[in-house]
Symmetry: C2
Subunit: 166 residues, 2 copies
């Protein structure tokens, strides 16, 4: 699926990559798990993208680097990356779970076109403030939130036609 960004983020530098690897492998050590080549390949592949990847999409990318890595390992590694904060799940309600990386990433949210499925990031600090305020008001220990806007993107509105992707 096509993904557009309103964002100036560059691919990770060598140092950023190293830092993320440190975070990951410290996490593994902390919970008594092992450092493997597969996990490293998966982490690097994941960080090199800016997309909201489903497990299957990441699997296809990783397979280009190492065709012997299985789907299950991708699946489990994504859970590990989410555990240590390097990835987070985004739900666009199209039936598949997607992950995006969170390393050195500005807080952002998504608008999703219900016609062609394109997702566009936007930034709105107010949303984070709302989470905090409302948590306080209702005595919830708020840890995270989801905020997505659905609608029709400019292209689809102009074209007036439906895309194939949903």
């Amino acid at each position: 699926m096509l993904q557009r960004r309103i964002d100036d983020h560059a691919p990770p530098t060598r140092e950023a990559m190293r830092e993320a690897q440190d975070i990951f492998f410290n996490h593994l050590k902390r919970v008594g798990l092992k450092h493997t080549d597969q996990r490293d390949t998966i982490l690097r592949t994941f960080l090199e993208t800016r997309d909201h990847l489903s497990t299957d999409e990441l699997f296809r990318l990783v397979r280009q680097k190492d065709p012997k890595i299985g789907f299950t390992t991708i699946y489990r590694t994504l859970k590990l990356l989410a555990e240590c904060g390097l990835a987070s799940e985004v739900a666009f309600h199209d039936g598949v779970a997607r992950y995006e990386h969170q390393f050195n990433r500005r807080s952002h949210h998504h608008m999703v076109c219900t016609d062609c499925g394109v997702s566009v990031e936007f930034f709105s600090p107010e949303v984070g403030k709302l989470e905090e305020e409302i948590g306080r008001k209702y005595h919830f220990d708020a840890t995270r939130h989801t905020f997505q806007i659905y609608g029709i993107c400019e292209d689809c509105r102009k074209n007036g036609r439906r895309a194939t992707s949903h």
Copy 2:
């Protein structure tokens, strides 16, 4: 699943029920579908609750009124109710789709406890304004949004124990 409300909404009056039935059956007529006893029973059962019901939960409630109504009919009727605006899907990201009724309902959002699964409604007009503003800014024809806050509810924080329901 337990559901709590911060809301003063009463069960539907006879007139409100009638009005919702009108909306539903006008919608059916408009799209060339038929009025059936099953659909009426399902609509009434749905409106009588204040919960965020999964298809299966609604199925269990409907079965108490008419054990001959099948799961598939509930499933399809919920889609129809969503089509005409009487129901809307809420995703709490626990793997099942839930619906809540939208008839005579204030705009609201949900906080979900990630420990026991309880969901609490809250009201925040700012969120709707954000949808509008951001849609305009990025040239999206925004039609709806989702906003949920996840965290630990007061009870779970006090009890310090995990509940069974997720």
